[in-house]
Amino acid sequence: MKKEYTITVYTENQIGLLNRIAIIFSRRKINIESLNTSPSESEGIHRFTILINETEEVVRKLCRQIEKQVEVLKAYYNTEDEIVWQELAMYKVSTDAIAEKVKVERLLREYGARAVVIRKDYTVFETSGHREETDRLIKVLEPHGLIEFVRSARVAIIKSSNGFHEKLKQFEQLEPGEEVIENEYLSKQAEVFSM
């Protein structure tokens, strides 16, 4: 069954790596719903957050292919319930519309939107949250003249993760400890071996 999976990849900060990772998806004709790259908690290590809709089997294989790339340290995949995630959205609306209509201001407050820029002609609001929330705000603003809208890629924190500092230390050793080469067989050993 296809589901939304969030893939988190820890990598070296290297030119061309984005392409190397992107073609793993495009080669298999898999659409990337959103992609974000940023620094991570560990210095010099980049973090990709990739959102796709696929079956777990496909996602697992994709992660193996991603991890196989020389400059990739680790790739994880998680379902919705295993992560805390947010997307940032920005809305440009006419300042007149807000000034004139109390309703609009109330709406924005209701959605936790924050004004980033206020000019005579337009105002830019931002809000962050899940897709449905940011989408709903578009709907309610549309009748009042939404001039421009943009939404960022998903960023996600893995609930069970202890961060990458310890792992990185292990990667830096010539002979890494066992846990950096984890795989799903370890957690499902009993299940796998009883087949």
Partner: protein, 581 residues
């Protein structure tokens, strides 16, 4: 300048390292010397001229083979790597020079061949300006390289090349491309010597071996009534031929090979049951769907091996030994994954398995082999018609070489026939384009194979079609006196495609009727001796003359125009549906 610039003693790191001022180009050549990569296949051009200029001073330490086309260079480097077990090195210029490497990169990528390709690039300040012969080589080659990198500053050269050799040759090997801008080649910098790379934190060439998997695998194997070992090139790349032999001998496991695993186990070994896959042997294919434990060693379940996947070995527990974790479960669901280098994992398994004989099970293979012999092999090797078959040519060649030659093949019917019937006593003896099926591979790969194993006889078996794809490399053979024996099996067709058209397209022979030049005269133009024969009575003598000839030789053998390679697993069928005719 003729000296090796050696790395200063590593222990003396407390004092600043002594440096010398050298150019980026010199650093490239010094790296090659340090890596003992002293045979290069290449072709010069504008953007790599500084490296070629530096090479001029290194010619008594580095052997550069000037090919006739960059595709020839990379296939030659592949042949070199496959016959020697070392990393092949290629030089090419920017733009078209670099793009001519792409087919070979793709081939080396899928066949896990270690290569370091060095391409020249336009000056860094011209990148992105559509400069003369500027091509975005890095992005073009990203899908077909294990790693690639563009150098724009000479100071990067030593450590990037060290990384390149480390990545190409370790783990699951593969091609690496390093693109060096012309300014970096020319730039002088303070060089403190070359240090080999043995660790990259984001790169794990070998997965950790887990004892629990080994134990579990041994348990499954010990319980097996009908175990079957299938092995691939991983055994050769891991130099684990002896370990494989010890493993199958202890458990008395019948074993079969993929096209790239061929020669890892001697042909005559009693447990060698033959070839897997589309044109493989009858027993190994049918019994894949009967075994109870399938032990796959260093192979990747290519579709040419598995046929229809949803009907592949469904009854069996699958144990998969591979160094590349991405291969586990990629195509076939594994019961027990044995991650690791099979050089290490096979002995661990061997220790835990019980000796066994499996006589009845092994006899099943022999029964199928007999059926295959009666229906297919007998006629192929001892035809009654006056027209020669490819199989009998290979059989006669076996008799004369006694299985000691390196056989390099091109792609098509002759390739499958050679793999099926050629005899091998030692490893690294079968060199062919497996995963990519690159026509034109054979001739240049044979040149490289000879440089990689100068003391062995190298026979290139090539079709009339494939030979015409890279025959320009006859020039390389001429210029460098490369002793390769070229055996053209001429069926006056693009045989393999014709076979498919006959079997699956109602014999509509659409553009497979290919004409050829007079190959013997062509060879003569390159000062290469040759002969062409049509009659069986001439075969043995002609082959003997070819093998005895000092230096390169071309022998064309006219074979049946519309012979087919059987058995065959038709596309979309299961391996058990293999057809004998």
């Amino acid at each position: 300048m003729d000296t090796v610039i050696t790395a200063p003693n590593k222990t003396a790191t407390s004092t600043p390292k002594p440096t010398v001022s050298i150019s980026g180009s010199q650093a490239v050549l010094d790296a090659l010397l340090a890596e003992n990569a002293t045979t290069i296949f290449g072709y010069p051009g504008g953007a790599i001229m500084p490296i070629y200029d530096a090479l001029y001073d290194y010619t008594n330490q580095i052997k550069h083979i000037l090919v006739r086309h960059e595709q020839g260079a990379i296939h030659a480097a592949q042949g070199y790597a496959r016959s020697s077990g070392k990393t092949g090195v290629v030089f090419a210029t920017s733009g078209p020079g670099a793009t001519n490497l792409v087919t070979g990169l793709a081939d080396a990528m899928i066949d896990s061949t270690p290569l370091v390709c060095i391409t020249g690039q336009v000056f860094a300040h011209l990148l992105g300006t559509d400069a003369f012969q500027e091509v975005d080589v890095i992005n073009i080659t990203t899908p077909v390289t294990k790693w690639n990198y563009q150098i724009t500053d000479a100071t990067e050269i030593p450590h990037v090349l060290a990384k390149a050799f480390f990545i190409a040759g370790t783990g699951r090997p593969g091609p690496v491309l390093i693109d060096i801008t012309k300014n970096a080649q020319l730039q002088k910098f303070e060089y403190s010597g070359y240090e080999k790379c043995n660790h990259i934190r984001s790169y794990r060439p070998k997965p950790i071996i887990r004892k629990s998997y080994i134990e579990e695998a041994a348990k499954v194997i010990n319980e097996a009534k009908k175990p079957f070992v299938i092995f691939g090139q991983g055994v050769i790349l891991g130099k684990a031929e002896q370990e494989l032999k010890a493993f199958i001998e202890k458990g008395n496991f019948p074993a079969a090979w993929t096209v790239l695993g061929l020669s890892a186990l001697p042909t005559e070994h009693p447990l060698n049951m033959g070839m897997l896959g589309m044109h493989g042997n009858y027993g190994p294919n049918v019994l894949t769907n009967e075994c109870d434990v399938l032990i796959a060693v260093g192979m990747r379940f290519d579709d040419r091996v598995t046929g229809r996947l949803d009907k592949y070995a469904k009854q069996a527990k699958v144990i998969h030994l591979d160094i590349d974790p991405a291969e586990i479960d990629k195509n076939v669901q594994t019961t027990v994954p044995v991650w690791g280098d099979c050089k290490e994992t096979l002995p661990m398994l061997t220790q835990l398995i019980q000796p066994n004989n499996h006589t009845a099970w092994i006899n099943r293979f022999r029964e199928y082999a007999q059926q295959e012999y009666d229906v297919v092999i007998q006629n192929e090797l001892n035809p009654t018609s006056p027209i020669m078959t490819m199989g009998e040519v290979i059989k006669t060649l076996n008799e004369l070489t006694n299985g000691d030659a390196i056989v390099v093949t091109d792609v098509g019917q002759h390739q499958m026939v050679a793999c099926r019937y050629a005899k091998f006593n030692q490893s690294k003896s079968n060199i062919t384009s497996g995963g990519a099926g690159t026509m034109g591979f054979g001739l240049p790969a044979a040149i490289g194979a000879k440089f990689g194993a100068p003391n062995r006889t190298v026979v290139a078996i090539i079709g009339d079609g494939g030979f015409q794809m890279t025959l320009q490399e006859l020039g390389t053979i001429m210029q460098f006196n490369v002793d390769v024996k070229i055996l053209i099996l001429n069926n006056e067709f693009l045989g393999m495609v014709r076979q498919w058209q006959q079997l699956f397209h109602d014999k509509r022979y659409s553009f497979v009727d290919i004409t050829s030049p007079n190959f013997v005269q062509l060879a003569k133009a390159y000062h290469i001796e040759g002969n062409s024969i049509k009659d069986r009575s001439q075969l043995k003598n002609a082959l003997q003359t070819m093998l005895n000839h000092k230096g390169s030789y071309l022998l064309e053998v006219m074979v049946g125009k519309e012979n087919n390679v059987f058995p065959m697993v038709p596309q979309g069928c299961s391996v058990a549906e293999i057809r004998l005719q």
